[in-house]
Amino acid sequence: MVGLAFVAPMVLGVIALCLIPFLYVIWYSLHDWDIFTGAFDFVGLGNYQRLLTDAVAHKSLGVTGVFMIALMVVNIVFAMLLALLVNQRLRGITAFRAIYFSPVVVAIVAWVIIWQFLLAVNGGVNGFLATVGIQGPNWLNDPNTALISIVIIQVFKGVGMNMVLFLAALQGIPPELKEAARIDGASPWRSFWSVTLPLMSPTLLLVMILTSIGALDVFAPIQVLTQGGPSNSTLVFSYYMYQTAFERQEFGYGSTLGVVLFVIVLLMTALQWRLRKAWVHDEV
């Protein structure tokens, strides 16, 4: 009974602030809710039917998918390169490591505000490109570059975290194994793909999970920089939901979008389970 008392605050809190609200979201999603007249009418699956024909929602799902994949690929590749780079015994390496990690502790809004200036048409990034003779685009106002700009901002913000996780995994690999590969005549390249990477697979999966979850949480950059534009090219799903519920006051349809967001999280979790079973090398 003491045990129940110990877990009670957390469990009751989670029930009250996660599970019960979720049941309400499902209930709301079956209603047409006019906040101004107070009308709250049961419409069954009406909102879900609307979803099927809502071109903006479809576009938004696509944007979310592209964003997530782009962020994962860029972040993980870059994090791995940085981890390999700082996994050297050099004087001052700790300082470099701290620098790459530092944006992790910077408030996201602050980081985004700085990059808003740097990515402006006359900003620092284009100024730098001009010195090497490239005419940079208007990053955040061009539908072709807006989403990739957000990816870049997010990657530099969070890559240090993944770098640190990869680094810890790299250092956990027994040197004997690499030594053995070397003696067997493996090139460093081959040794990386055949020895290092398979041994890092649990960490790699962990990093993929964290990065994909992080990719869903991209609200602040979108809200501050683009508000989903230009021409909905950065309209990630959580932002579309925010617009629907809190700007257009459509709480019924907004709830439907919330349910969809939950389904996305659920699918990702399931996918990760499958990946884990199929692929992770040495399970702890």
């Binding site: 469990v11 029930i15 599970l19 530092s102 200036f117 240090g160 609200f219």
Partner: protein
């Protein structure tokens, strides 16, 4: 699911490179010693180039807060002001209640951190050490809570807060991180930590007549320093960086958190006040960075121990 996220790295003994330990060091030095001078120079050049996207934004921010507005988008762009001015700085405090907003963020983050440590340590300890009815279902319940980010559940919570008169108060910003994925992750971290503590310590105390609560307060919690540090860093950063919740639940500038306040530097015509915004951003970022640089070992170690942002 995400419990595994925490399980895996915690059980491994993660050796960080900055910690020189005799044997490990000898081995790694053989492995990673950079042989030639050229190789070393190449590495330093690569390392330095890679710092640009991390360092340049921060330096640009600091220096640009001393530029007149006309220089912010000067062509060609330069990092240093041509005409240094501190004109933008006093406006940080007059255009927005910046200090108040900073204080709001700090106190919310402290309350969130302390509450999380108490609630999550209790729950984590019980899951690790006490057999009690429904332990399994309750653990599953917390796991499922992890799949419900605030974005999913925010609409009913907003409605309730509205009904209870809690809009434009700090209650939602305090309660949501404690009883959301942040608090749940913290519970898993504590559970994992207490599982790794030797049971003998507690058994000795029990023989001496200490009850569960006594053992928790006097034995387990005082030993949980590393877990507490990890949870504290995670939750403090999470709360301090909170934006979505602040945007939805807060309405008046005096109640804003500092992050939300940063986006509201506009003059009476709605024109953005660039230099002032950058000065405010500088004031927000620099203290955190200074703390980080002093304690970077603890930060990096704590966070790599959990693998959770």
């Amino acid at each position: 699911m995400r419990s595994d996220v925490i399980d895996a790295p915690l059980t491994e003994d993660i050796v960080l490179p900055s910690r020189p330990e005799g044997k490990r060091r000898a081995r790694t030095s053989r492995q990673y010693r950079v042989r030639s001078r050229t190789a070393r120079v190449v590495l330093y050049v690569l390392l330095t180039i890679a710092t640009i996207p991390f360092v340049y934004p921060v330096l640009w921010m600091v220096f640009s807060s001393f530029k007149p507005a006309s220089e912010i988008f000067a062509v060609p762009p330069s990092i240093f002001p041509e005409n240094w001015t501190t004109a933008a700085w006093p406006l940080v405090f007059t255009e927005n209640p910046f200090l108040l907003q900073y204080a709001n963020s700090l106190y919310i983050a402290v309350v969130v951190t302390v509450l999380t440590i108490i609630v999550a340590a209790l729950a984590g300890y019980a899951f690790a050490r006490i057999t009690f009815p429904l332990a399994g279902p309750m653990f599953l319940l917390l796991l499922s809570g992890m799949m419900l980010p605030t974005e999913v559940t925010v609409i009913p919570i907003f409605q309730w807060a509205n009904g209870l008169g809690l809009i434009d108060t700090h209650w939602p910003l305090i309660l949501l991180p404690v009883f959301g994925s942040g608090g749940i992750v913290a519970t898993f971290i504590f559970r994992q930590f207490f599982l790794s503590l030797p049971v003998e310590l507690e058994e000795a105390a029990r023989i001496d007549g200490l009850g569960r609560v006594g053992i928790f307060c006097r034995i387990a919690l005082p030993l949980a320093g590393p877990a507490i540090a990890t949870v504290a860093i995670l939750q403090f950063l999470r709360s301090f960086n909170m934006y979505y919740e602040a945007l939805i639940f807060l309405k008046t500038p005096a109640m804003f958190t500092v992050g939300l306040g940063l986006t509201r530097y506009e003059d009476v015509y709605g024109e953005p006040m660039w230099s002032t915004q950058l000065a405010a951003t500088t004031l927000t970022v620099i203290p955190v960075l200074v703390v980080f640089l002093f304690a970077q070992r603890q930060f990096v170690e704590s966070l790599s121990r959990t693998g959770i942002k």
